[in-house]
Symmetry: C2
Subunit: 247 residues, 2 copies
Amino acid sequence: MDDMVIAGVILIGDELLSGRTQDTNLGTIAKFLEPLGVSIGEARIIADNSDTIRDTVKAFSEQFDYVFTTGGIGPTHDDITADCIAAAFDLGISERDDAIEALCERYSLEELNEARRRMARIPDGATLIKNPVSQAPGFQTKNVFTLAGVPQIMRGMLEDIPHRLKGGAEIYSVNVTAEGIGEGDAAKGLAEIERSYPGVSVGSYPFFNDALRGVNFVARGRDEKLLREVKRKLEALVEGLNGLNTA
Amino acid sequence: MDDMVIAGVILIGDELLSGRTQDTNLGTIAKFLEPLGVSIGEARIIADNSDTIRDTVKAFSEQFDYVFTTGGIGPTHDDITADCIAAAFDLGISERDDAIEALCERYSLEELNEARRRMARIPDGATLIKNPVSQAPGFQTKNVFTLAGVPQIMRGMLEDIPHRLKGGAEIYSVNVTAEGIGEGDAAKGLAEIERSYPGVSVGSYPFFNDALRGVNFVARGRDEKLLREVKRKLEALVEGLNGLNTA
């Protein structure tokens, strides 16, 4: 479909794979993109390894309309994302004046040591992405947006993205919650609803405390009117199941 | 290295990519594997799409010592993981008596409708993984462990995994926290420490509130004695930087 715009997300960092840090950037990016009509097709969480970063960026750049990377653009030895992006596109990379200028808003010349200057190394031809939180910029190389890993900074950088995106048709979603019902009770009716409405995807998500408490049904699609109809169908399905209470 | 045992993790579900659900299973699996000497090499978050699931399982099964999948083994139409695992390994799939038995611990025969019976469809030759929370089993196919997506259930299933793993040397980590210091101040010393201790990886993770508050340094490796030495070096590095306070 022409109006489907799909992004890939690459979350970079050993700390995400070791369980030391819980990623929240994927959800933030997804919620940021949804009203712009861009959905996420796949996300990968990869280690601080040059070959892996380079190859993943290259593959995703070809596979998706847009690519977002997070992590690895700080001043330390394990911050290698900028070099990997340059390698992925066979571009040179060097310290850039406009990036140094951004850093000077934060650091005195004395503080701007060799390590911090690394944050001004930008792949040739990339445009900077403003960082309103800690100034060291992100950058856009072709369809790839390279953002910081720290969630507060990453969120700030997203503010400089919307005008760069050609979005698709807006994605809408509706929600129906059914308490005291099991997924298995609703499965047959749910499959029928999804079959009847092409272009609408219907998911069911059980929620638990100590025991099963119920199911959330979520339908997503690009036709708002159709979704309102699907919502009524889901409500009728739940009503028909009420009292079963076999959770 | 012979004692490196690496796992890949595949998190399956549209709801993770839409930002509706925040994954926590990756961190749980990582923390479960660490004391067993297994680290995670890569994780992918993929949509409820048969071809993608099949291809990713196949590739990861070849690339990693172990693979963990989460999600897509419930009773509804979007629960397609079991079929995709069978397809990845060219295996048949059918309803299994031992899996039906497990379901009967939870459901009456009346409740065990066609949708719920789907949860007893298991790839040929797989062994079941016990589900102490809601009974519907996971399963192991070759080096691939297929687990539920609901975090409470996933955690319960992990209890039936350790005896199936041939772990590697235990991975240790040490932590040094430096308040009032920026990453850029420590970068040079940090790189020197990492260079001096092959087999030890050193990461630095700034932490923020409204402003930069400090940096956590984490070193990880399989030689506990070496790590104690690295910890002393990190502490000396931080001590040398104290008072700089250029954060």
